[in-house]
Structures are given as C-alpha cells and as structure tokens.
C-alpha cells in the first residue's frame, strides 16, 4: 500500500511537470479534483498535448475514448497507474 501510495505521488509530481510544460505555467499545482474548468486553455487540443507528453514521460499509450472519459486529474492519475501496473 505504501509503495502504491508513493508511486501515485511520483506520478503526481511528474504529471505536474507535464501540465506546467504544456500550459507553459510554472504555477500549476494539481489535485485529484483539478479539472478542465480550473486551468485556462484546457480543451480537447490541450488534452492531446497532455496525452503526448504523458505518453513520453510514463511510456504508456492512451486511446481517444480513454482520455475523453476523464473528469479530473485524479482519474488521469488512476489511468496512468493502472497502465503502469499492467
């Protein structure tokens, strides 16, 4: 459980860097509840850029339908965790 928790934290940290890079904003801090409403410019196109960066950083692959189901960052982290655990 502790290991799982830590890896989720690590994912969070790396995902925060991905978000900061894509939105060109070093002030971004993520939480489980962070959603498209909270970050200016987070639309379908930005989601593609986020996915490409996340794919590069975590070495996983996403499908369009998986990404469009995500409601917030918490769910994004869960999908990455799930993919890494496979």
């Amino acid at each position: 459980m502790a290991l799982r928790q830590r890896s989720r934290d690590e994912i969070y940290k790396e995902l925060t860097d991905v978000f900061r890079d894509v939105f060109d904003d070093n002030q971004i801090d993520l939480s489980d509840e962070t959603s498209a409403k909270d970050i200016a410019g987070w639309d379908s196109l930005a989601t593609i850029n986020l996915a490409i960066e996340a794919e590069r950083v975590f070495g996983v692959k996403f499908l369009t339908t998986e990404l469009s189901r995500l409601k917030n960052v918490g769910e994004f982290v869960s999908v990455i965790t799930q993919k890494l655990g496979r």
């Binding site: 593609i48 369009t64 339908t65 189901r69």
Partner: protein
C-alpha cells in the same frame, strides 16, 4: 427563404410584431408556424421529411429516458440511424453509387446503381446534427426528454438557425422556448445592429467578392497562377463573410426575440495556429464532432483526429474535394501537434520570444495561408481541377495579373475597402464575440449605425444570392 431577400424583409417584422403582441402561451405556436412557413418557401413537401424525423427523435428521447440497459442503446441507435440514414439517402446516395460504379467498372464488372433525381432538403446536415445532439444528450443524462411535441419540433425548426446553424445543443435552446418574453429595447437594438452587421458582411463583401471568385474559379483553365492565388485569397474572405454574416443575422434575428444562440465564429483569420483556427471557425460543428465522434473513438489521437476531419470534410458535401479539404486540415492538425516541441525550440533558438509582435504576425500569416491553400479543393469542382490549380499556383513563373476581368472592377474595390474596415474592427475588438458596438455617446453612435445601414443599402448587392453554407 433567404435572409437577404425582400420576402424575409416583410416576413420578419410581421413575425416580430406578432410575437410580442400575443399571449405567452401561444408564442411557441406562432414561432413554430413561422418556422414551418420559412422552411416551406424552399421546397414545401420536404417539411414532411422533417416532421417524420421530429416524431422519431421525440419518441426516442422519451423512451431513452424511461428505459434501462440495452433498450436505451437500441433507441439511441434507432434515432442515429434514422438521422444518418436520411442524410445518407438525400446527400450521399448518388456519390456512393457513382463511386461504387467506378470501382466495379475498374474490376470490369458491369454493376450500375441508378442515380436518384432528388434535390437535397435545405439545411438537412444542420438539423439532423442538431436532432442527434438532442437524443445523445438525453442518452447521456445531460438533458431531460422533451414531453411537449410542439416545443421539440420548434427546437429542430426554429427559423433563425434552421438552414445553416449554429447547430444548437438542447441544453442551450429548449428551455428558452418556455421562458417568458416581453419586448426589450436593448435586446432589440443589439439584435438589429447584429443583423445590419451580418448584411454588411454578406451583401457588401461576400457577394461582391463572389463575382470575381466565380469568374476565375468558373473558368480556372483560362487563368494563370497569379489570378488563381488572388481568387483563392478572395474566396477565403468571401466564405468567411458569407457564413459569419449569415450567423450574425441568425443570432441578431433570434436576439430581437430575446433568444440567445451560441456563437459560431471568433475572428478565425487572426488565429495563430490551426488548432486555434478550429476553435474559432464554425465552432458549433467542431464541438459537435469532438464531443460526439472524436471522444468515442477507440484509437490513438492522430487516427481519431484524421478521421474526424475527413468526416467533417464529407459533412460539407458529397464530393472528394471536400474530403481532401478535411484531410488537409487533419494533416495540418497532426503535424502542428507533432512539431510543437521543435517549433518551441526554434523560437528559443531564434530568440523570437523577444519579438512577440513579429512572432504573432508570422503565426497568423502562416495559419491563414494554410487555411487558404485548403480552400482550393473546397472551391474547385473536382480533384483534377484542384490538382491543375495547385500546379499553377506553385509554378512561380507567371506573376502578371490578367486585367481583362469581365466583371465590374468597382465592385471589387468596394468589397476590398469594406473587408479592410471589417478587419480593422475585428482587430480592435480583442475579446468580443463577433458582436459589434461602437464607443462614444449616443448621438455619435447613432450616426455610425445610420452610416452602416446606409452603406448596406447603397453598396450592398441585393440580388438574393444564396449563402454558401445553405448547400451543405
């Protein structure tokens, strides 16, 4: 009925006056009857097709809301099949049969499907998409199924946006038919300003430019690359002023009756990337494709993007030229996403971040030229003509502009001066959505508005030329 016709000029004031004179409980019926009349001016019997569609989607909505499990999916599928089937039958049957015939003839197999001799019901692509939006939103639980058949029919038929959008979502439009509406001076004034602004774009710019574009593109073999380049630039201006002008009139007409329709354009030719362009051009269609098609595709992003853009091309017309237009935009999008990091490094290397104005101008020019290049297949009649025009455009040997246009050159200068004015105004309204309002105290403002009406009346081309997007 065309917005830029005398017919509409009499129809609209009558409907508007009646709308605010009758009791609230009859307002929907007046709007519905007016909308049916508006539609029936084109081809009366096609209203029956629309009624059938309305009945199917109305029933599907109620059943989807009540049912559980597979039954919901089945009724959603039934609604989608009815809409897409109808669109397919009227819009794509001949295209599909011609392509199948060509395919079988290539295999030396005599297989002939007869062509259908039917006209495409006006705006079918727009209201089938709006109808599908309703059943999908009910299925997703984001919209309650409408119980009042008349109100649902009005959602599909509402005349300001019936033939060329904006493609509305039920969450934005349906509830507005129930709201109490009394005349409001500000809304009426805003609405009329928007109508005049739309007429200015359509009659002074789009229809005047169309004369030259039609002359060159109508006989592209006779013109050199320089003329074709100019005609393509002019077409870019024409189609924007035509479609966004139509949208301004639609939104303005709705606004006078205190309805708020969604915005469809946000200064697209000032976009700094293709992605930005698609966020500001025909917004209601782009969001439709992204929300309902792209999001459901089980593919990687680039495959989904390309597919959606190909589909969007096909939506515009049953011709490979539109598919090519969609493919070009899909390709632009994929390449622009893939090269994002490289372009960012290049900006840092060239220190372009220190010259933001230069960088922005370059991005806007590059985006506009990519968009303009894709208009070649959009405007050409066939793929072979597209190819011939492209070859001439990229053959930089002949730069002389032919000066023997048949059309009246004064019209072109009027349109270009008006387009320049439009560009300056759009540039000045930094964040405003297409709405137009001038600063200054009432007397000065009124002079400006009066001048605008005068410009439209004196310089507009009122030959009831149809809107480009009506054919889709």
């Amino acid at each position: 009925m065309l917005f830029n016709s005398l017919h509409f000029l009499t129809f609209f004031p009558i409907v508007l006056a009646a709308y605010f004179s009758i009791p609230q409980r009859w307002k929907w019926l007046l709007l519905l009857s007016a909308s049916c009349y508006f539609y029936m001016v084109f081809i009366p019997k096609y209203i029956l097709v629309l009624f059938a569609l309305i009945l199917i989607d109305y029933t599907a909505g109620i059943i989807i809301e009540r049912a559980q499990g597979r039954r919901r999916k089945r009724w959603l599928a039934a609604s989608l099949i009815a809409n897409i089937g109808l669109l397919g039958f009227f819009k794509y049957f001949n295209f599909a049969s011609a392509n199948l015939a060509a395919f079988f003839s290539a295999l030396h197999c005599g297989f002939v499907i007869p062509n259908l001799d039917v006209a495409l019901p006006l705006g079918l692509s727009f209201h089938t998409f709006q109808s599908m939006s309703y059943t999908i939103e009910v299925y997703r639980g984001a919209q309650k199924a409408e119980r009042h058949l008349g109100m649902y029919a009005l959602y599909v038929l509402f005349f300001p946006q019936l033939v060329a959008g904006p493609i509305e979502r039920p969450q934005n439009l349906l509830h507005q038919f129930y709201e109490r509406r009394e005349f409001d001076y500000q809304d009426a004034a805003d609405g009329f300003k928007r109508i005049v602004w739309g007429l200015f774009k359509k009659t002074v710019i789009a229809d005047r430019l169309a004369v030259f574009v039609n002359e060159v593109y109508g006989n592209s073999g006779a013109y050199n690359g320089a003329a074709l380049i100019v005609a393509t630039y002019l077409f870019a201006l024409q189609i924007y002023c035509d479609f966004s002008g139509y949208t301004d009139i639609a939104l303005g007409v709705a606004r006078t009756m205190r309805f708020k329709l969604g915005e469809n354009f946000n200064r697209p030719y000032f976009s700094r990337s293709i992605g930005e362009f698609w966020k500001s051009w025909h917004i209601s269609l782009t969001t439709w494709f992204f929300d309902y098609v792209y999001s459901a595709l089980p593919w990687r992003w680039y495959a989904s993007l390309l597919f959606v853009f190909l589909l969007s091309g096909l939506w515009h017309g049953a011709n490979w030229t539109f598919v090519l237009w969609g493919a070009m935009h899909g390709f632009y999008m994929v390449v622009s996403i893939l090269t994002r990091e490289t372009r960012r490094r290049m900006v840092a290397f060239l220190h372009l971040d220190r010259a933001p104005v230069l960088r922005k101008t370059w991005q806007q020019l590059a985006t506009f030229h990519l968009v303009a290049l894709a208009y070649v297949p959009f405007r050409a009649k066939s793929l072979s003509e597209t190819w011939a025009i492209m070859v001439k455009i990229f053959n930089f040997s002949d730069w002389r502009l032919p000066l023997h246009f048949k059309s009246d050159i004064t019209g072109l200068w009027i349109a270009l001066a008006a387009a320049l004015l439009l560009g300056c105004i759009e540039r000045a309204q930094r964040d405003a959505w297409g709405s137009i309002s001038f600063p200054g105290k009432p007397p000065i403002r009124w002079v400006v508005y009066f001048a605008m009406v005068l410009i439209v009346v004196c310089l507009g081309k009122f030959e009831a030329q149809s809107f480009v997007y009506f054919q889709f």
